[in-house]
């Protein structure tokens, strides 16, 4: 099969790489939000209740 023209091929290649980048970015954003929320809640709880840290528990 002959190679397709660069302009057409460029669109397909860009689409494939954008799909990958979008997947990774969305994943990182979701996990980042989750980690931020967890850390905030944890900080609040530790402040309020004086939860001993892992190091002190050992």
């Amino acid at each position: 099969m002959p190679a397709i023209p660069l302009e057409t091929a460029g669109i397909y290649v860009a689409a494939a790489y954008i799909v990958f980048l979008a997947l990774v970015l969305v994943y990182v954003a979701i996990i980042g939000r989750k980690v931020g929320r967890l850390e905030r809640e944890l900080g609040e709880l530790e402040q309020l209740g004086g939860e001993p840290s892992r190091d002190r528990q050992r």
Binding site: M1, Y12, A15, A16, V19, L23, I31, E39, L48, G49
Partner: protein, 265 residues
Amino acid sequence: MYGRALKPLALATAAGAALAFGLIFFYAPLDADQGFIQKIFYLHVPMAIVALLGFLAGGVMAAMHLRTRRRAWDMRSYVAIHLSIILAVGVLVTGSIWAKASWGHWWVWDEPMLVSFLIIFLLYAVYQPLRFSIDDPERQARYASVFAISGAAFTVLNFVAVRMAATYTHPRVFSQTGGNMPPAMFLTFLVALGAMALVFVTLWTLELGSKNAAERLRRARRHLQREADGREAGLGGEAGRPRPAAGAPAAVSVSAASAPTPAPR
């Protein structure tokens, strides 16, 4: 533990990805047959290899969980499979884009490589619904581990079966005679594969860090709840408990601590 490893991993991943992109677009020669469209190869194939290895790693970690009964292994297995499913979505989409450009069709049903990968993806798509349909954490972890081990065995069998298939439209990159590509392309491919592996490990570490933080939060909540219960019991319940000042943090913390904790997702 995971937080400490994350920074160097993220830096290595960024460097690896930048190097891979540079090699793909400025160093690797154009394919004589397919031209520029072949650049999808450096994304699609490493992603497929890393996704399949992720499924295998998930199976190995699940076996470790069954052997040691440590929940950490189950969580590692879960995150590896979860990430591999996401990469598998990427493999199917980028493969379809490449197929459309190269073969003129988004999907070819009589092609063993494509269909077998779709079957593996659909198999693992059942993993999460199965896992979260079980409420008891111990049983959930055990059943998920058995599923992960079976899935890993199926992945290996499927791969071998496809390699033995006679008809072949999908190109075979690695055969017994070597990489079937010039050294510049092979080097670029290896760098792209390494970068993809780093992306996987970094995201795996990131998600495990998040799970770790959720676990610490649950511990803190339980600790506060126990403390509050102990105070109530020691002071003779409601009648003997000193009234806190309006808006006192203790009352707030206990009610926050007793909020139901969702299952880890």
